[in-house]
C-alpha cells in the first residue's frame, strides 16, 4: 500500500536562495510525521509545497503513489490535504459556525435564490465539534472569544469534517501555554486515531515526541534525516534540534572570546 503522501528528494528555490533541498519523508494513514527544525530551517517552505501554496522545483511529490504538482491551496484541499496554519486558522470576529464552513458553506436554493443554510450549518458545526470532544456553549459566538487551543481545534475539526485525509498542522502549539498545548496534542492524537495522516510542524521536541511516529529534522533547508520513533530517543532528538555538536563549538568559541 502506498503512503497517503510522500515527498522524494524535494527542493525549492526562491530566486537565488535555496530554501529546501533534497528532503524526503512519508505520511501514512493513522500516523504522525513530525517536521522539526529551528527558524529558517525550511519547515514553512516544505508545508507550503505540501499545501499547494508554492510549487516544488526539484524532486517528486506523491499523493497515494501518484506524482502530483499542486497549483493552488484549493488543489491540495481537493486532494484531501488540509492545512491548519498557526495564526491564520480562523477569522476571530466571525462566529464559530461561520468559520467552520468558511469556503465550503452549506446552501439551500439555486441561482440567485441560493442562500446559507444557517440552521443546518450551526447544527453540523456543533456536532462535528462535539465529536472532537469540544463542547461549545454556542456556535454563534465569535471565534475570538475562544481560547487559543480551542481555535486550533475548530480548525482541526473543520479539516476532518471536510474529508481531509492528510492534516498539516503548522506550529499548532507555538503560541500556547502548557495546558492548552496538551489540549491540542490530544486532538492531534484523536485525529490520528481516526485514520488521518498528520504532518505536525513544530520546534518543540517535547510536543512532537509523544504523538509522533517519525521525525523529519530540517536544518538550513536540508534534511538531517528522517527517523522512526524506534530509532531515536527524545534526548537525542532534543540534542539534534538544539544543534548538537555545534552548540559545543559555540560554547568553546565563547570561552575564547571571554579569555581575550
Amino acid at each position: 500500500m502506498s503512503a497517503l503522501l510522500e515527498v522524494d528528494g524535494i527542493g525549492k528555490n526562491y530566486g537565488s536562495v535555496i530554501a529546501l533541498r533534497d528532503v524526503s519523508t512519508v505520511v501514512n494513514a493513522g500516523e504522525v510525521t513530525c517536521v522539526l527544525g529551528d527558524n529558517g530551517a525550511g519547515k514553512s517552505t516544505l508545508i507550503k509545497v505540501l499545501a499547494g501554496v508554492h510549487q516544488h522545483d526539484r524532486g517528486r511529490l506523491l499523493v497515494n503513489g501518484t506524482a502530483t504538482r499542486f497549483t493552488s491551496p484549493r488543489d491540495a484541499l481537493d486532494a484531501g490535504i488540509a492545512t491548519v496554519y498557526q495564526d491564520l486558522a480562523v477569522v476571530p470576529l466571525m462566529s464559530v459556525w461561520r468559520n467552520f464552513f468558511l469556503g465550503s458553506e452549506p446552501t439551500v436554493g439555486v441561482g440567485p435564490l441560493q442562500r446559507l443554510d444557517r440552521k443546518r450549518g450551526k447544527q453540523i458545526a456543533k456536532e462535528a465539534l462535539a465529536d472532537m470532544g469540544i463542547d461549545l456553549r454556542d456556535v454563534e459566538q465569535p471565534v475570538g472569544t475562544l481560547s487559543g487551543g480551542e481555535r486550533q481545534c475548530v480548525a482541526i475539526a473543520r479539516a476532518i469534517h471536510f474529508g481531509a485525509k492528510v492534516l498539516i498542522l503548522d506550529e499548532p502549539t507555538a503560541a500556547l501555554g502548557v495546558k492548552q498545548s496538551g489540549v491540542v496534542l490530544r486532538y492531534v492524537a484523536q485525529a490520528r486515531d481516526r485514520g488521518l495522516g498528520i504532518v505536525l510542524v513544530t520546534h518543540n521536541p517535547h510536543h512532537a515526541y509523544p504523538v509522533g511516529n517519525r521525525f523529519l529534522l530540517l536544518k538550513r533547508g536540508a534534511s538531517l534525516g528522517c527517523m522512526e520513533k524506534s530509532e531515536i530517543t527524545i534526548e537525542e532528538l532534543t540534542r539534534q534540534m538544539a544543534g548538537g555538536a555545534e552548540l559545543e563549538a559555540l560554547e568553546h568559541e565563547l570561552r575564547e572570546v571571554a579569555a581575550e
Binding site: Y85, L88, A89, V90, L102, G103, L116
Partner: protein, 350 residues
C-alpha cells in the same frame, strides 16, 4: 440523577439560558446607530415643529436616500477590509458620462446610462485590481483614482462643452422613462416622496440579505476579518474584493443617475468630499475601520442620522455650521461605542 442528565443533553445548552434578548441586541453592530437615530429623531421632533410632519419627513428622507445608497455600498466594502475614496467623485463622473452621451452624442438616455454603468464597473474593477494586485492600501490607491477622476471630470467636461457643466437632459430621448425610474416622486397623502427613498431602502435590504444570508456575504466578512485565513480555506479573496469595489462603483452610478435625471444638469466639480460622508455614515452604522465587522442596515441608519440632523438644523433655523460640530461629535461617539460593543461581542458569553 437521570433527570439531570436529560437536562444537560437537551438541544439548547443550559449555559446559554441567560442569553436574553438584551444580550443578543447588544452584540449587534447596528444597535448604537439605532439608539443614535432615535435620540436625534426625538430631539428634533421636540425642538422643531416641522420635523415630524409629512413634509418634514419627506425632506430628511430625501436627504438621507442618496447618501444612504452609497453608505450601504461603502459599508460592504469596509467590512471587506477596504476603502474607496473615489466613491464621492464617481457619483459626478457617472452623471457626467450619462449627460455627455445623452446630450452631446445624442444617444437615448437608457443607452447613455448603460455606457455609464459600464464605465463605473470598469473603474471599480480597476480600483479593486490595483489593490489586490499591488497589495497597497486601498486608501492610497483610491486616493489616486479620486484625483484622476476629479481631473477627468473637469478636463473632459471643459473639452466637450467649453464650460464646467453639462445640461439639457430634458431634451434627450428617453428622458421621461428614465426619469420615472430614477427621479420621480410618489405621493403618500398629499406629500410627495422621492423615488430615491425606495432605491435606498431596497438597496439596503438587498445588501443586508447578501451580507448575512449568502455565501458571498460570508466571504465579505472573512476577507475583511482576515484575508490570509480566508485564502487558506479556499475563499477567492481577490475576486471578492474586486466585486466589492465594483459594487461601490455601481452604487455611485445609481446615485449619479438619480442626480442627473433629477437636476438635469451635471456639474463637473460635484461629489468631492462626499466620500468621507459615506465612510462616516458607515462607521456610525457600526462598521469597524479595520474591516470584518459591520452592518448594511447600520450604514443605512447612519445615513438617516446624517439626513435627520442636517435637515433638523435647517428646520430649527440654526446656522448650518453647527452641522459639522454635530457630525464630529457623532463620529467620535460612534467610534467609541463601536469599540466597546465589539469588545463586548468578543467577550460576552464566556
Amino acid at each position: 440523577m437521570s433527570e439531570r442528565m436529560n437536562a444537560t443533553t437537551d438541544v439548547t445548552d443550559e449555559r446559554v439560558a441567560q442569553d436574553h434578548l438584551a444580550q443578543r441586541l447588544v452584540v449587534r453592530p447596528e444597535i448604537g446607530a439605532l439608539i443614535g437615530a432615535l435620540v436625534v429623531f426625538l430631539f428634533f421632533t421636540f425642538v422643531t415643529e416641522k420635523f415630524f410632519t409629512m413634509g418634514g419627513v419627506a425632506t430628511w428622507l430625501d436627504d438621507s436616500a442618496t447618501l444612504g445608497i452609497m453608505a450601504v455600498a461603502v459599508a460592504l466594502l469596509m467590512i471587506g477590509g477596504e476603502f474607496d475614496l473615489s466613491a464621492g467623485v464617481m457619483t459626478a463622473s457617472t452623471a457626467l458620462v450619462t449627460a455627455i452621451f445623452a446630450t452631446q452624442v445624442g444617444l437615448n438616455v437608457w443607452l447613455a446610462l448603460l455606457l455609464s454603468l459600464i464605465f463605473a464597473l470598469g473603474v471599480g474593477a480597476l480600483n479593486g485590481w490595483l489593490v489586490v494586485r499591488t497589495g497597497l492600501p486601498s486608501f492610497i490607491v483610491t486616493l489616486g483614482t479620486f484625483l484622476a477622476l476629479q481631473g477627468l471630470n473637469l478636463g473632459v467636461t471643459r473639452l466637450v462643452t467649453n464650460s464646467v457643466q453639462v445640461s439639457g437632459m430634458r431634451r434627450a430621448d428617453g428622458y421621461e422613462s428614465t426619469g420615472f425610474v430614477f427621479a420621480s416622486t410618489f405621493d403618500i397623502g398629499d406629500t410627495s416622496f422621492r423615488i430615491s427613498i425606495i432605491w435606498w431602502l431596497g438597496f439596503a435590504a438587498l445588501a443586508a440579505y447578501i451580507l448575512v444570508r449568502t455565501k458571498f456575504g460570508n466571504w465579505i466578512f472573512a476577507v475583511g476579518g482576515s484575508a490570509p485565513s480566508a485564502r487558506a480555506v479556499g475563499v477567492p479573496v481577490a475576486r471578492t474584493k474586486i466585486l466589492l469595489f465594483m459594487t461601490t462603483a455601481a452604487a455611485a452610478w445609481l446615485v449619479g443617475s438619480i442626480n442627473i435625471l433629477r437636476y438635469t444638469t451635471a456639474q463637473a466639480n460635484e461629489g468631492i468630499g462626499l466620500e468621507f460622508q459615506y465612510i462616516i455614515a458607515a462607521v456610525i452604522g457600526g462598521c469597524l475601520l479595520t474591516g470584518g465587522f459591520g452592518s448594511a442596515i447600520g450604514a443605512a441608519i447612519g445615513a438617516l442620522i446624517f439626513g435627520m440632523a442636517r435637515q433638523g438644523i435647517v428646520f430649527a433655523n440654526w446656522n448650518s455650521d453647527w452641522f459639522m460640530l454635530f457630525l464630529g461629535i457623532m463620529l467620535l461617539g460612534a467610534v467609541l461605542v463601536n469599540n466597546t460593543f465589539r469588545r463586548r461581542a468578543e467577550r460576552v458569553r464566556r
